[in-house]
Symmetry: C2
Subunit: 412 residues, 2 copies
């Protein structure tokens, strides 16, 4: 099979995995999930015209000449209903969120007024009708769809769901993900240090990448390079929605993974992608499981996860935003690449007034996993490129899932 481009390989992956079915969750457990139902407003919100400020509800026509002194005829708190109608020369003290009384057509905030003797207030400047009034239904109208199926549940969306009092929601379920590492050279967390072995870091880095998407994966452990043992482990993995197999998918003669996977009924769709790092990436499916054969190299494994597995998992969870957010950045230095493969270069990001500046984390050897730990993003270099110049504008995928930075980034 030819080497697929990153774009075509991802297209193949996304066409092969399906959005999962829905399940019911409590509002408190719904953050970052995706709505599997449309949600309607169950009331007008606000339920009547309300004040947007603490101040005075009045008739704007009374301020045709200012300063004006008005009689305060009522005191309306949020949660109260007004009892009186505002007549010419009158006003009501009103709190934020309280209903605007009949007769009033504007609110002026308390800071723009001053006391003018018992039961009176002086107002120094005019306001237009509608000033600082939030109209009935401005936020939502009873019965209208306020959130469509497919909406990602952010904190703002949770505010809306609480507004329409949805304690339980239908959301797309999360995939069950299994992680398997393979190879005689691997030493697991609970084994003593053997200087001739390689610690099994991939299972844990992949675990964390899966967790970062809101999914708790199952770690199946390490399968040794023995076809029978490998088949047994793989068989367990095929009970999951997604099986990530780390190592063993390259062209090496000692790699049992590909033939063993195929012998278990997995239809392999590709096993080579024109990218660096990550070249020996394999992908196949059964009727119920998507199987990714990730490179054994820690950096390659993480990059392949970001580029292929994360979009697939997000697609299965019902997300439409599948791709890492990208920013433009200026390159701090020249970058040499060999044309023919899409390269993903680990970079840190700094900022100046003109925007982001990308700097390589140093050696791009895919064995240097510390550089992945230090990276803020992945600079994507097109397969057609034979190198980038210092100062050139490049595209960087943000890796930082929590997306914070170490200064405010704006001038007041």
């Amino acid at each position: 099979m030819e080497h697929l481009s990153v774009t075509n390989a991802l297209k193949c992956v996304l066409e092969s995995v399906k959005k999962l079915d829905a399940e019911t969750v409590r509002l408190e457990q719904s953050l970052n999930r995706v709505l599997a139902e449309g949600v309607r407003a169950n009331r007008d919100q606000p339920p009547y015209d309300v004040s947007a400020m603490d101040g005075y509800a009045l008739r704007s026509a009374d301020l045709a000449t200012v300063p004006a002194t008005l009689a305060v005829i009522e005191d309306i708190k949020a949660g109260d209903m007004p009892c009186k109608t505002i007549q010419a020369g009158q006003c009501a003290r009103i709190m934020t969120g309280a209903p605007v009384p009949a007769g009033a057509d504007a609110v002026i905030r308390v800071e723009d007024t001053r006391a003018a003797g018992a039961g009176h207030v002086q107002i120094d400047h005019a306001v237009r009708a509608g000033n600082d009034i939030r109209c009935l239904g401005e936020n939502m109208r009873n019965g209208e769809i306020v959130l469509t199926a497919g909406t990602e549940i952010t904190p703002g969306v949770i505010g809306i769901l609480a507004t329409v009092k949805r304690a339980h929601l239908q959301v797309t379920r999360r995939p069950r993900v299994a992680i398997l590492s393979t190879g005689n050279e691997l030493e697991d967390m609970n084994e003593p240090v053997d200087p001739n072995k390689i610690p099994n870091s991939n299972s844990y880095a992949l675990m964390a990448q899966v967790q970062a998407l809101g999914i708790e994966p199952s770690l199946l452990g390490i399968a040794r390079d023995d076809p029978a043992e490998l088949a047994e482990y793989l068989q367990r993995g095929l009970h999951f929605d997604v099986l990530l197999v780390s190592g063993g998918s390259s062209v090496g003669v000692h790699d049992y993974v590909r033939p063993t996977i195929e012998s278990l009924g997995v239809k392999m769709l590709f096993w080579r992608v024109s990218m660096k790092p990550g070249h020996p990436l394999a992908f196949g499916t059964t009727s119920q499981t998507a199987v990714f054969g990730l490179p054994g190299n820690p950096v390659s494994s993480m990059v392949c996860f970001e580029e292929f597995v994360a979009p697939a998992l997000r697609h299965m969870m019902g997300h439409t935003r599948l791709y890492r957010r990208t920013v433009n950045a200026r390159l701090a230095h020249a970058v040499k690449v060999r044309p023919g493969r899409t390269e993903f270069i680990r970079v840190t990001l700094s900022r100046d007034d003109a925007g982001y500046i990308a700097t390589s984390t140093g050696t791009q050897s895919s064995g240097v996993s510390l550089s992945m730990a230090r990276a803020d993003g992945l600079l994507v270099v097109s397969a057609a490129s034979s190198g980038l110049a210092a100062g050139e504008t490049v595209t960087v995928q943000l890796l930082d899932g929590t997306v914070f930075q170490n200064d405010a980034g704006f001038e007041e």
Copy 2:
């Protein structure tokens, strides 16, 4: 007290809250936490020179003339130790991660070779010494500090922690956060719909904002506008590290919150910030609790959380990146503002080749909570500004904590 600028208010908050003490967590539960200890390598990694490719380990001098045919004298898998020394005219088949045998100084990948009769391989082009070899200790040297205290635990960092086999870690503990809403007008989730009441959405939106930072808050419920009831609720909140009080901190005469808080021994440090939305933001401390009095308005409450509470919580958890990531964007349309207050305008972001384009979510009425649900970011308008023109470059804080977008954002 004068109105503080956003910068000075945040400075006051960050000077008032302290990094919390450390606790031990399992590696599996450490994602997004901050290391409270330096971590050293417990081995050289790789433990010897290893192959970066599946291919042949050889003497680069043997390729002085190409094509060259070499005798394959051994087959070295990852996890094996080589038995033989490579002499002139010899090579060993080698797998990715396997030790480079004595005598060899380079690896050539299998794709650049071809079989040349029994036990021989033909190589068509020369490689330099060191080609595709990962050197002993390239990733880490035994005993060196590989991760310093204060490092945020990303998936890449978890890979490193697994490499040095740290099943348990010291991390800064998370603050205990309580959320209290106040106001007679509020109707809670479990109450029947009363069209004259306002659903309590703030507690849940704040809950989700706290959850998005990796903290599970305690919801204390709704305190009615009664000083005794409010004092009782507040007293419970003062057992937490952080108490978020929604509503009741404005200048309204019916607001018991500020005086009640002060009567409980909270030293108020400010209660006005020159910002929109969010103007009536209060902040105070006791010896053990930081208390935020957030505006009752849902949008204002969320914006104040992002600008002040999130940085405070991250600071307490040991993070140094406290601020929402910002991007430059071009403004799709003019924006009118009144000078004197820092404005935070809800926007959606789109992209073209030149970068991000920011578009207002529509009405910026702080009562329109749907616009917060739809926003990708907050455009920050300086207090000195009297308006922004279409096309102007502006700063946008990314709100989307999971940071994904709906296309790949790069050309291959």
